[in-house]
Assembly symmetry: C2
Homo-oligomer: 178 residues x 2
């Protein structure tokens, strides 16, 4: 499976529907994965994303220190690994090894892409003013990748307590909306 | 259809999956509706929500001035009205009348609930420090309502350009996640 570059102007179309994502970070050569649903688009282009990471998470201090991460978007085939990553801490385990996920080199950040995810967004932290109060990081997407063979990725959307809605059919309405 | 009070501690389960929402505001007795997908949970309880409203939107100044809104969650039956609200401005039209939606009195804010939406979250703006730079409002949910007859609400999730993913089936995995 070869990933292709994905236009930054279209990144909002990947995150706006609200999928669960896997946030990867790296420090001192050690990579970690965090399951995450608290994210939103902040601007179209360059694509800016807000995401909330609790200071109880191992990822918090790494993201604050390195100011880099990758947002990886999994599909339903990875649901068990997504839950596994959500139920363990990088303090205790190497999640790539434990959940048999494959790290791939990013182009602009040290955090790895997760090969098995259908899309990957390389991000840098551009605003930390809301981090102390809310754990809210403002990210800019520097580069985006997609698996072009996945035309209808069945993303998963967390309803709480391990219950996920799986992306259903799509409908198209005449619209002037971006 | 009678709505029931919904526990604040469970509000994240409504927004975390990333549905399109309809944001209602009111000023000087005039109510407005804005179609919105750029929102995320910030905290569980009291439930805090981040949402981005562009200063090009009619809602922006009203939300900034009144510091109140309601997040209404529609289902696929309302998709045409959701797009209609997204393609018009409250500067020009009364969206409740134009799209035949029914305003209902909220309990703690002046902005109205949209009767036809299966869930309604009454919110107050609690932090405006990111408004000028990003249009990012931090909201606290004061009160929540739900239609208890809607067990599997088919929410819609915007993929851009009038294409929506309709909530599909749900799966449950053993999890310690909240």
């Amino acid at each position: 499976m070869g990933k292709r570059s994905f236009p930054l102007s279209e990144v909002y179309r990947l995150l706006e529907p609200g999928p669960v994502v896997l946030l990867t970070t790296a420090r001192k050569g050690r990579a970690n994965i965090m399951t995450q649903s608290w994210h939103m688009m902040i601007d179209f282009e360059p694509p800016m994303v807000g995401c909330v990471v609790s200071d109880r998470n191992y990822t918090f201090n790494i993201l604050k220190a390195t100011k880099e991460c990758v947002i990886n978007i999994p599909t339903v085939e990875l649901a068990a690994k997504v839950v596994g990553c959500g139920n363990t801490s990088g303090r205790d385990v190497d999640k790539f090894k434990t959940f048999q996920l494959t790290p791939a080199a990013a182009s602009q950040v040290k955090a790895p892409l997760i090969h098995e995810c259908y899309a990957n967004l390389e991000c840098t932290v551009v605003d930390t003013r809301m981090v102390t109060k809310y754990g809210l990081f403002v990210l800019e997407v520097l580069n985006a990748w997609i698996d072009p063979s996945r035309r209808h990725p069945r993303t998963i959307h967390h309803l709480g307590k391990g219950i996920f809605m799986v992306a259903g059919k799509t409908i198209k309405l005449p619209s002037k909306m971006k």
